[in-house]
Symmetry: C2
Subunit: 242 residues, 2 copies
């Protein structure tokens, strides 16, 4: 989410995030039951709503869709089932950092009243900072986004693609940055989420410091190909300039 890190590709072209996020979609689908369960078991509806008739959900790191819409539908359906109050209205806020293509996000929103039963808004900002007034969010959700650190830690190597087998100092630099970021993230959410509300998130994780052997070999192999390709492009570019 840091300024120096590239966001997802906007638009809806061949290389857009919207058309290249099946892995993330599968992650969100696997989470569907977990979401429903969390809402049914842990959401304190009476406390969180007080006298309000509006339920507010935030998707932190939404990108441009369409995965975010599936998750929002799941959460809203679960809250509706739990609440059983037809007058309850929903407001969903989609959050991402500068550089995200909000025009595409808005253009791909399902039609209100027909395929979307919530009011939609967008917020620009990093989730490693304050995004909302205090106690103004009822459910904060984040899918496949918290793996993005706020910035590259000092001591990291910008030419590397993954850190499997990296020196201990580099691994520690990433761990420290992650811990710092998580502290800021949770401090901000603690202020923003109303008492009785929920924070729901999924993120990729490795079971230990070293990624499992076959994944590691694959990543190292892909890395070497990509680095060769980059070199080749530079050479072609240099030849063209001669």
């Amino acid at each position: 989410m840091g300024e120096s890190i590239s966001p997802m590709n906007g638009g809806s072209g061949t290389y857009s995030y919207a058309r290249n996020s099946t892995w993330q979609k599968n992650g969100a689908a696997a989470m569907e039951n977990a979401l429903k369960e969390a809402v049914m078991e842990s959401l304190d509806l009476q406390n969180v709503l007080c006298d309000s008739n509006t339920f507010i959900v935030a998707d932190l790191g939404c990108s441009v869709g369409p995965n975010t819409f599936y998750a929002m539908d799941t959460i809203i359906e679960a809250v509706q089932r739990k609440c059983n109050k037809s007058s309850l209205e929903f407001q969903v806020t989609f959050i991402d950092r500068i550089g995200n293509d909000f025009n595409t996000l808005f253009a791909s929103l399902p039609e209100h009243g027909r395929n979307r039963n919530y009011f939609a808004a967008a917020v620009l900002g990093s989730f490693y900072g304050s995004l909302f007034p205090s106690s103004s969010v009822h459910i904060a959700y984040s899918s496949s986004a918290l793996n993005w650190l706020s910035k590259m830690p000092e001591g990291s190597n910008a030419t590397k693609i993954h850190y499997n087998g990296a020196p201990d100092a580099v691994v520690r630099a990433y761990e420290t940055q992650f811990e710092e970021d998580m502290e800021v993230f949770f401090r901000c959410r603690a202020r923003e989420i109303a008492a009785g509300g929920l924070m729901l998130f999924n993120m990729a994780a490795a079971p230990s410091r070293d990624v499992q052997h076959h994944v590691a070999s694959m990543l190292t192999f892909i890395e070497s190909i990509l680095i060769d390709m980059v070199k080749e492009v530079y050479i072609v570019f240099a030849l063209r300039k001669m």
Copy 2:
């Protein structure tokens, strides 16, 4: 605001709205005192806030800035002066129709905490429809936007630029469309604005059916030049194709 009507030009280039909205800025500046006065005299703070600590403002037809930011600052400053409660937080939602350049709007937002003392969100939609949950807005504001009808009325002539001296039937068609639109607009806002809140707007208007004589002559003259230019472009285009 209708789908068939062009929105403001996005981006920040030579022909962008951001660099060609001085007239609208002057209109907003003239409104500054009126805004302050309305907040001081007519806003029922206790009633509108109830127990909430967040004050919510909506700009309907915001375009891409920067005029919207001046107006929001004026409104917030006036509410702060009236309320005198340092813990009060502000949330501003910028609304415009599909085709508005929200990426530019977000990119031009003043920095939060430094030059902006409110949380900012954007909503895509026409103000001739529901945009928010009921009673969820404290001040709704609209500047130089309500002159955009929801659609071209039947019987209007798409090749005309203005309707000074138009047949009575055409003038009536526009009047009817305007009346219908205004009814929808106010019905929606009545549902969305909390009791004790405010609706503040400015819009261009003519003192009578016929625009004053010298303005009318000027408009007719400009119209004839523009129509000639369009014809010429068509001719040049046709010649190039030959």
